[in-house]
Amino acid sequence: MNEVSFVRTEMLEQEAPPASTVGVIGWLRANLFSNALNSVLTIIALFSVFSLLYGFLPWAYSPTWAAASLSECRDILHSLGREGHFSGACWGVVRDRWVQLLFGFYPSEHYWRPVLAFFLTFAALAPVLFAEKTPAKMIWVSVLYPFVMPWLLWGGTVWTPVVALLGFVVGIYVYRTVTAAMGSLFGLIAAVVAAAIWWLFIASSVSSGLAGILELAMEPVSSRQFGGLMLSLTIGIVAIGFSLPLGIVLALGRQSDLLIVKALCVGFIEFIRGVPLITLLFVASTLLNIFMPPGTNFDIIMRVIIMATLFSSAYMAEVIRGGLAALPKGQYEGGDSLGLNYWQAQRLIIMPQALKISIPGIVSNFIGLFKDTTLVSVIGLLDPLGLSTAIRANAEWNGVVWELYGFIALLFFVFCFSMARYSMYLERKLQTGHK
């Protein structure tokens, strides 16, 4: 046998990869300096980041936390030998006014109420947000939340929300009895009429009667005292909560075959989407009282919430219409072939899927509305931006600009950014298709 082999029989040692493709240098070459254009871009980017930080950091590092007025800030900076317009930030204004920026003029001994309402919001949303991780009983928190939240914020007797809730109970009871006797359509009509009668004519006397027997009241807080981020959140949450059902109805109306219903819905949606929110707020502040029967006078925050609800319901309708349109036709046909009628098919087959698809859109709608609540400062409400004008008009803080705006921007950023991240997480979780 010939022992000569032409193939290497032993393994060679593995060679280290070339130094220019691994480690820091490799990463730099691949990601920052892969070609001439990229290198130029990198240098420009680094330079702009550097110059931004070079201007910002020395200004932001300023031991003025304890100052009680702008002149005190200047004194502190002066004693440190820092002179000039941009020598240092005046953080005292944030320490002095952050509570006001959060709560407005809400009485300080009652701060726990908006805070509790805020955390209850999460509890109420939990069945929607983290559906699989929450116990089924939590849905009761969501059901009761719309009645508890206004009571916590505005105070007054507990019987008002209870009686309002009873209206629904009356409605459901009437629906059950009438449906058993005369069919579901009459049941529905009778239920709506009964609930409306309850709310319009009976509720107020019942609640005042009950309050006479047993008061059970929290100190009422008037809407004028609402302000700051709390006001933005209240308007945002209430408006989005009401606009969801309204939006569903409008979206179904827009998709419907009924010509007049469709025309009404399209007209409403396009009208609202065609005008800026600020004009609707003008309507709220100047016109809404003219549109109502003489003598009606409900407070400005209610009026703003009504207009914000109408505004966001038009956008919500478009989001949900998108969800409805995204469903394959087979789903509708499947519902029909099972013999379900329109509402059964909507409730059992269409809406659960359509809403699931549109959750990211709904969340971004909410972010938009939440940001837009700053517009109420234009009609004189004291949201964070309106408060900032008031604070700057104050003799102590006259001249403070960046610290206030920066703090408000940070407040909004934290909320909006976390909601946006959540919506992205949801989008990934709900993504069942293939790309």
Binding site: L32, A45, L258, I260, T279, P294, T374, F417
Partner: protein, 419 residues
Amino acid sequence: MTTLTEPPKETFRLSMLIYDTRYRSLTIQVVALIGFLVLIGWLINNTMTNLETLGKEPNFRFLWEPAGYDINQRLLDYTSQSPHIRAAVIGVLNTLVIAVMGCITATIIGVIVGVLRLSKNWIVSRLMAVYVETFRNVPVLLWIVFTMAILIETLPAPRAFRGDNATASMLLDNSVAITNRGVYIPEPLFSRGLGDIPVFWGTFEISLDLMAVIAVLIAGFYASKRIRMRADSIQEATGERPTVWYQRIAAVVVPLGVLLYALGFYLGYPELKGFNFTGGTYLRNSLIALWLALSLYTAAFIAEIVRAGILAVSHGQTEAAAALGIRPNRIMRLVVLPQAMRVIIPPLISNYLNLTKNSSLAIAVGYMDITGTLMGITLNQTGRELETVLLGMLIYLTISLSISTVMNWYNNRLKLVER
């Protein structure tokens, strides 16, 4: 033998309106219509009663009364003696100016940022992500007042330009002055101008020079397009593409240059006189702040749209184009972008609409758009909230619907022709 029974003759019963699906939809619609009309009637009735109590009779005659206030940024002649309607028209024009300027810059910035965010360069893409997230997650009103504050607080006052030891200087060969009151740029003037012609019975004057320039530009672009089409057809026929880019540029530039020379075109530079600048075109702070803030804010949204659009084009398209031997920049221009555009255009339309509607926040910085004039000062002076707010809404609705009509027409032209 078979007995033929007549099918039971259908008689109309009232209950069929509800239980028969043929009539039920009719019933629902009639009920909805009646409900709607009742609601409208109720609202109108309330309004009439309330206005009567207030002693106001709704009419639009106040629009022809003298306005009595000044508008500092305007495209048309206006004095405080002009009627309210003229103030409103100037407001509409200001809204349109800010909308057009904003849409253009927002698109440019948005496309650049969107493309850069997809860049392989780590730091650039991160920087763009930071930009997008910062601007998207902070209210636009805050950005507007913030930009206004930056302009007022950081830029030099006009008096800083004065004297021998001036602390600030004009840019671009003494032609542009950036001050904390606004920006002064050179204005185009004509020494042999054609003058103005009055239109609409003398209410407005339109500059003939401007008209002539626009006409020549349109003609130039049309000629340029014809040259391109001819080059295309030559390429189709022979496979060789003639070099026409210089002809296309010349078709636009040469006639324009001749026209400008004929009209005696020159630039009027701003000059410092006393405490302020005179001459030149004056762009107020409020305009600049609103324009910058709206562009940067909307650009963040457009950047995301552009990014999503480019990502939506399947990678196979790029690879197939590369396999055909098309060069990278042509792949972008001929293969990727046309397909990405289909994804980009519809959300882009709604962002243009948003920008136009957000321009109503001008009221926060005192820029006199339609919200500031008609729904602002005119409302406060005349106390006619119903007429002014409804008219203002109608104007915004008209603007929005026109934008969406035009953009939808463009979208339909681009759309993939399906079965």
